[in-house]
Symmetry: D2
Subunit: 342 residues, 4 copies
Amino acid sequence: MIVILKQSPNPGQLGSLIEWLKEKGVQVHTSVGERNTILGLVGDTSRIDIDLIAALDIVEDVKRVQEPYKNANRKFHPEDTVIPVGSTQVGGGTLTIMAGPCSVESEEQVVGIAKAVKASGATMLRGGAFKPRTSPYAFQGLGERGLAYLKSAREETGLPIVTELMDVTQLPLFKDVDVIQIGARNMQNFDLLKAVGHQEKPVMIKRGMSATYEEWLMSAEYVMAGGNENVILCERGVRTFESFTRNTLDLCCIPVLRHLTHLPIVVDPSHATGKYWLVEPMALGAVAAGADGLLIEVHNDPEHALCDGSQSLKPGVFDAVSRKLLALHAAMKSIHGEGAST
Amino acid sequence: MIVILKQSPNPGQLGSLIEWLKEKGVQVHTSVGERNTILGLVGDTSRIDIDLIAALDIVEDVKRVQEPYKNANRKFHPEDTVIPVGSTQVGGGTLTIMAGPCSVESEEQVVGIAKAVKASGATMLRGGAFKPRTSPYAFQGLGERGLAYLKSAREETGLPIVTELMDVTQLPLFKDVDVIQIGARNMQNFDLLKAVGHQEKPVMIKRGMSATYEEWLMSAEYVMAGGNENVILCERGVRTFESFTRNTLDLCCIPVLRHLTHLPIVVDPSHATGKYWLVEPMALGAVAAGADGLLIEVHNDPEHALCDGSQSLKPGVFDAVSRKLLALHAAMKSIHGEGAST
Amino acid sequence: MIVILKQSPNPGQLGSLIEWLKEKGVQVHTSVGERNTILGLVGDTSRIDIDLIAALDIVEDVKRVQEPYKNANRKFHPEDTVIPVGSTQVGGGTLTIMAGPCSVESEEQVVGIAKAVKASGATMLRGGAFKPRTSPYAFQGLGERGLAYLKSAREETGLPIVTELMDVTQLPLFKDVDVIQIGARNMQNFDLLKAVGHQEKPVMIKRGMSATYEEWLMSAEYVMAGGNENVILCERGVRTFESFTRNTLDLCCIPVLRHLTHLPIVVDPSHATGKYWLVEPMALGAVAAGADGLLIEVHNDPEHALCDGSQSLKPGVFDAVSRKLLALHAAMKSIHGEGAST
Amino acid sequence: MIVILKQSPNPGQLGSLIEWLKEKGVQVHTSVGERNTILGLVGDTSRIDIDLIAALDIVEDVKRVQEPYKNANRKFHPEDTVIPVGSTQVGGGTLTIMAGPCSVESEEQVVGIAKAVKASGATMLRGGAFKPRTSPYAFQGLGERGLAYLKSAREETGLPIVTELMDVTQLPLFKDVDVIQIGARNMQNFDLLKAVGHQEKPVMIKRGMSATYEEWLMSAEYVMAGGNENVILCERGVRTFESFTRNTLDLCCIPVLRHLTHLPIVVDPSHATGKYWLVEPMALGAVAAGADGLLIEVHNDPEHALCDGSQSLKPGVFDAVSRKLLALHAAMKSIHGEGAST
């Protein structure tokens, strides 16, 4: 951490600042310049409150050199984290394909889709029982009944289930779920993060609408600080000025997070784009850029034409996409094997 | 609502769409053009799921003409909402000044600040007992003990208290609070919004980091749909590319919200800017633009130089700012009285 | 400038870096930490290419401590710049009101509006002769003829004229103009900035759609580096996710720029909001926050109803707004005189 | 185009609006609702000024149904545009690799890099002679001399050259260039766009920092409206709140533009990310998502350690990346051939 002081710091205040910093267990190096004096803090600064220092009268600016997260930091945990889920795993060179409907609507629906996506290569079933909806008047999900239907689908297919937890009070209902999803709108619901950190199931944290990489990793850190190291990160687009797509999918998060953290990274092209015809190219892009998995909305082709979400793939289309993703995943291994990588 | 169809819609699908829309209680007008057919939906469309229609194969785009919120909509409630709080009120031509420390640190601190801000013209005491912190390693607030200190300060000064609720399970502790604050990170924590909608205390909803006006009003609608009409909106800056200030304060929300809703609007220049020297000019700008109130961080001048937040005003500075705000609020009444307003 | 090195820098490379930095005339202080070595550069670093250093193999990050602009920097020029324009001036405690039509359409139109806005208190006439339009099929302005009409309006009213220059080749036509406007889309058209830096007329630089404060000041620096110190900065909203208004007006730029630079700051609420009914509250907010002036679109009330821009005020409305702005400007002087300012 | 009127439009104004619209050659369908009256405009609306209509007193909102661009629109030109450049081509199933230094520094440098990148599979040489720099004090490029060195490199290798034009007055110097690049900061320099539209060389338009897809295509339309149909679009990242990377690379633009336009799409991962180690994964992602080409910064390995840009690849690394890109491009053809595409 670097502390840049104003031009002529009050020597008393400067002395008491240096004293206080040393008490926190860090060493302090001072560089006196013409226009600024700079303090270089050396040691473990992750528990120093940067805002507190920035607030001092004599301080012009404070800049962090080290990341504020420890458990999630690749520097302290160089090997990739691999998370076992049922008979499959997330990370470690596999391609996880989580597929299923946005909302669970009926047992028949979710069992039908589960069978279809399994046949096409999906390794996990996703589906919402508790749904975060912008409008209080929109369908809020089947709740506990939806969880029961997901379990039926798991029994029929063997696919582990991933579904969203919206509130601490619902946690007891999630005992039989395989992966707990934390939605983008709850990425900084810190009480929820603490709660899932104090249990053992894997947690998939979707990136907040306008969360920086660091904030996202700090949310992972909340879960890990509670003792649960099984965290999956899921990119689902960020909010920008562009309104043609629902959000702007940030595939660059894949190599950046690979560099910063050891946690596996999954991409959700369905929610990010909001348009079914963008799912295939963006899913292929994600695999080529190194994603560990994908979250794809699939909906059956109903008699009643009104139940097909604008971002959902029909099972037939999903089948084609899934096969391309698996072929590309295999091709990437060969491509990276052939060329000498950076 | 306007539904734009693709070039040659399947007549069977078109017929069943029109049938389905009529069942929802709206009238449908059809305009057939060279390149597109357009359906105009007339009637109450607030309960029609726009995504469901956008998802249809035959639909190219759907555009809303009416706002999706009803209780919060000025069109259906033309008079300004005025919210009584203790012996004061929010809205209705008054200037509410909510002042106090970011975090409650001790009884002495909060009582001392409460006395000072009251003397300077503040009408409400703010202070955090439960603190949303990006890092799990940062100070998380005094919790229940902090609430008790706030109540002591209210007893000493008579100032109503406003403080943040972070989780549904904490709600029973908030029985004696005057205004419940929902933080920016929880603006779309829908279970929390429902919970505060089912009780009677006024609720102040801070705008999410990247929330549109419509999403913000939909969060108000969640609370109001539960029966609680006492909602205050609080602007605290939005996230942009500019990093000099913590966020970009959007004062334009004041006249826009005044137009769209009847709910009172408060501005928080302290969190928005993150720098104490920006609080005065932005608070003055907010009053001139028509805000109903301000939320300002004030911290006492401690012996130990390390307790002054970079965005907090010391009581002496707050006193000067507060007097200017009250003078400007009075001047604006006279200015708007003189000129013929738009 | 602070250079953070990777963990174990190659000593040869480190030595040659330090040597190279010293050649540039700066002193180098080295702090060796457990995990990082930090170089503190002391002296005039404004001509050191930060990208060049960041690019080195041994460097992890480079952070600037000093601003990269000198001529525009308040640190080296503490007094406010005041720019004389005709018989009026911009800055120095005055309130400049630049009013007029978006586009010059006819001599009659612009002369008529000029007379009206002068009567209402405007101090300068604005109007576009060369118009930057997103579509090649939209009206591109009257060009040279438009400039002639503006000059007629100046002759009739005495109001100095401000109008946009879009390309270096048009510069000879701007000899008789009083203030040359550089549009938001050309804020980083560096050849254009150099050209207006090599002549003497005042230059008003509109902020680019997504320009940071620093980039904006660097554009002013381009003009000033050429020898022309008469630069006015004009805020006109930045691009965000919010689409209700055309842009998000950033009034916080006023106190921030006041702190960083000595140049005068003008606000354009018409282009920023895109809606006429938001002009008055945002203009009032700008004055209360300390702006030196406003740029307001005014259009006459035409017989043909189709010529009134959605963001333009009619002369009668402008008259009311202008009187409120002048009253507020006077009130602010008294308010700041009464309270002891920060 | 859809025009939404306010509740009770003045019948005289409504009549004159409808009359005026019909004069513009469009048909008008009127739907009268309870709360709003809606006009549906049918026919060629690309030359109707949407702002003019939005400005009318009786109009609440106007929404476009058709795109405002014609020449660039895939609806009127369904086949992909293929642009011949020297003995190669851009588009049409090929993978164009434009590689070279950010700035031309010397003849030796650029010839050396040209030979190296050609050997690694590049099909075009890129390099800047005129450089847009944020600071007036930074190196501004070798100018005309730089163009001469690029031509030497073309003579030695046969690689066509692509280089940036910053100002209309430099155009005569670009006669021997193969592709003229318009930089992100000049994407809406409309005089420059008109100038390159009136000559025949292919033009590559980089996306502006915060340009929407539609604005970008309107800039292409400016060039095409002048008669030059040889336009290449180049994505180089957009500005968001995330500051870890220089910009946020929007790979989703590839399938979106493929849908909206027939013009070829190239991606620049070097400028977008600003970090050399992100170039390979993002370039691979771009190819998998369907890009027609890449623009990659390559710099030779200099004795003087200070000349390596933080986003540049050394020739050896570029060689590995280029081979992977070509292998992936071949693999994608086979993957898309095997699976039934959407």
